[in-house]
Amino acid sequence: MARAVSRNTKIGYTIAAWFVALLIFFPILYTIITSLKTEQEAISGFNLIPSFTLQSYEDVQSQYNYIRPFMNSVIIAVGSTILALIVAIPAAWAMAFSPTKRTKDILMWMLSTKMMPAVAVLVPIYLIFLRTGLMDTRIGLTVMLMLINLPIVVWMLYTYFREIPGEILEAARMDGATLGQEIVYVLTPMAVPGIASTLLLNIILAWNESFWTIQLTTTNAAPLSAFIASFSSPQGLFWAKLSAASVMAIAPILIMGWFSQKQLVRGLTFGAVK
């Protein structure tokens, strides 16, 4: 009897989980469906059965070269993530293993910069980019995205590092390891799941960023967010094309997320159960 109830509960949980998963995935699914419709079908109301035309994809590709914004997205997302890790690993190490009275305040202050609306600093940042020649460059955007995602990266790494016993690092020091060796050969291998999930999450955040990537680029460094924005129009039918452009923009990150979901989940639950 107890087994039967348990199985029913399991089935209930499974159905609930599938329902929630479908609910979360539905906007992406509907975007994919819309991209396979004609423009007329796309605007004529809710319909889950498309005519499976690839016309919108052809139109998008003929209108714009997808490769350039795609390559910009890859370079900017990966570059800003690596740069952020280079800065954040030592910072998180210091905060986790050599905390001071003000460490928590510094962490809170770093996080508080994320609470400010981006548009509030648009003009100063814009002027800095203009004066320093960083406008519409991949380097400028890489640095910008690194800076805006740095608080999250530091916070995540700090949380993972705190789970690593300080005694292990002390033992390494006793064995004569230098600070650099301690971070590279002891700390980093132990925190690989956490670093991997931080890396993946930061790539996703950088890939999806649309405010600064549109404001600070024109043609040379414009990534896929600018590519999508170019397909919206107040007059004329464009929903199917916009959906096709969106699918082309999210497909790489979706595929990457699919293949790395184990590492992502492992990292995000790292230290959750002791």
């Binding site: 024109t218 170019s230 039918l237």
Partner: protein, 438 residues
């Protein structure tokens, strides 16, 4: 030594040969619509004739473009050499010295061929600051078959009374045929473009000469009450979410008896490839209230302008002159037929028999544009210019806030009286803050 001199001289000569061949690049910021996309495809003739000029395109959504370009001009960024802007921005930006005057586009440009209302809307103190790529007014588009079946006629100069009677006669909600489709989606360029034009035709105005909002006037009350009455009784369900594109789709699917909107829609609804009612569409002027000589004064022109921060103003001038020339129109017609020619900008296009034959909406589009007076859009005294908008920088915010109140009234969340009272209070507060009301 002589070897070194020879090498240096050779290098100098090579440099001198190479430098003229380096092309000047101009960056063009534009919006995504059919005519603009076509222009991007047609640029070969320009680049062939001007091998020293290279074109880079930045296509953005209209509001993002406006935001992006405003930041760039305000900071003298110089990221763009040619901007696609509308009749709303031109007078405001020109007054700020943000745009280059376009009074020297060459002898063969034929500036006098531009339609006078469009030229006026893009000029400040008789100086042209942008050149029109395509222009539109607003008019009535209606189903001739439904009108005939219902036994009603719509004259070329309809009144709102006539429109209401026709909408009532054509409505058959059982078969999803709605007598009238109008914009309901909130936004200064969405429902407020329509409602401002409608209010003009009712004799209303946004502000009196001292900039006091006029939503408490009898004219605005009548405008909004009649709009809500039309849409509630004869409009489609969920109309408060409908903008240009949604109504276009409804009309093309045969679900609207009457649609009053931008003249550019005429080419879409009469296109057999996309419209199920392509051969059953009639056109009439934007309606007016009985006794008020005003047909809304809707006028919009997507235009090309050169920001004063441009690093290549001369090359940019060459481009805008080419893209808005008679020769460009002829190139489009040769490549894709006269129906595809950018409408509403030049008198010569409307004198062209081939265009008239291919575009059944040509005559009414011209009539609508010629009737638009953006310098005095209301029959009452007003301190502003602009047709379906008020050409002041604050209008985007105020227009959208008022549009939200009116859209809420259409959705049944508040009465017309409450929406007008909220609009009056909100607009008075914003205009006082902005220093218009002393």
């Amino acid at each position: 030594m002589s070897m070194m001199w020879r090498s240096l001289m050779g290098a100098c000569a090579a440099t001198a040969l190479v430098f003229p061949a380096v092309a000047e690049t101009i960056t063009i910021a534009t919006v995504n619509n059919g005519d603009m996309i076509r222009m991007q495809k047609m640029t070969k003739s320009f680049t062939d004739a001007n091998p020293d000029i290279q074109l880079e395109w930045v296509t953005l959504e209209e509001n993002i473009l406006r935001e992006r370009v405003t930041t760039d001009i305000a900071t003298s960024g110089g990221q763009y050499d040619v901007l696609t802007i509308g009749t709303y921005e031109v007078p405001i930006w020109a007054a700020q010295d943000w745009l280059v005057a376009l009074d020297d586009l060459g002898d063969d440009y034929d500036v006098d061929d531009l339609l006078p209302p469009v030229r006026a809307a893009l000029s400040v103190e008789d100086t042209l600051y942008a050149v029109p790529f395509y222009a539109e007014s607003a008019m009535v588009m209606y189903r001739t078959d439904l009108a005939e079946a219902a036994g009603v006629t719509i004259s070329e100069n309809p009144t709102w009374t006539e429109i209401k009677a026709a909408a009532e006669a054509m409505t058959d909600k059982g078969s999803e045929t709605y007598g009238i489709c109008l914009r309901g989606k909130p936004g200064w360029g969405e429902n407020m473009a329509f409602l401002t034009a409608m209010s003009n035709s009712y004799g209303a105005r946004w502000f009196d000469p001292e900039w006091n909002p006029q939503f408490d006037s009898a004219e605005w009350n009548e405008t909004l009450t009649d709009y809500l009455d039309l849409m509630t009784n004869y409009g489609p369900p969920g109309a408060s979410s409908n903008g240009f594109n949604e109504n276009l789709s409804l009309f093309q699917q045969g679900k609207c008896g009457i649609w009053i909107d931008a003249t550019v829609a005429a080419s879409f609804v009469t296109d057999p490839a996309n419209s199920t009612v392509a051969d059953k569409v009639g056109f009439a002027k934007f309606p007016n209230k009985d006794g008020v000589d005003n047909h809304g004064n809707w006028l919009w022109a997507w235009s090309l302008a050169i920001p004063s921060s441009s690093n290549s103003p001369d090359a940019a001038k060459k481009f805008v002159a080419w893209a808005t020339s008679k020769a460009y129109t002829e190139e489009v017609a040769a490549a894709e037929g006269w129906r595809a020619a950018p409408p509403g900008t030049r008198t010569s296009l409307y004198e062209n028999a081939e265009y008239q034959a291919e575009a059944p909406f040509a005559a009414m589009t011209l009539t609508a544009i010629e009737a638009a007076n953006t310098q005095k859009s209301s029959v009452q005294d007003i301190p502003y210019t602009g047709g379906q908008f008020v050409a002041i920088p604050e209008f985007q915010g105020i227009g959208t806030a008022v549009g939200q109140q009116f859209s809420a009234a259409l959705a049944g969340q508040m009465s017309a009286t409450d929406a007008l009272a909220a609009a009056q209070a909100n607009t008075t507060r914003e205009m006082t803050r902005a220093g218009y009301i002393k």
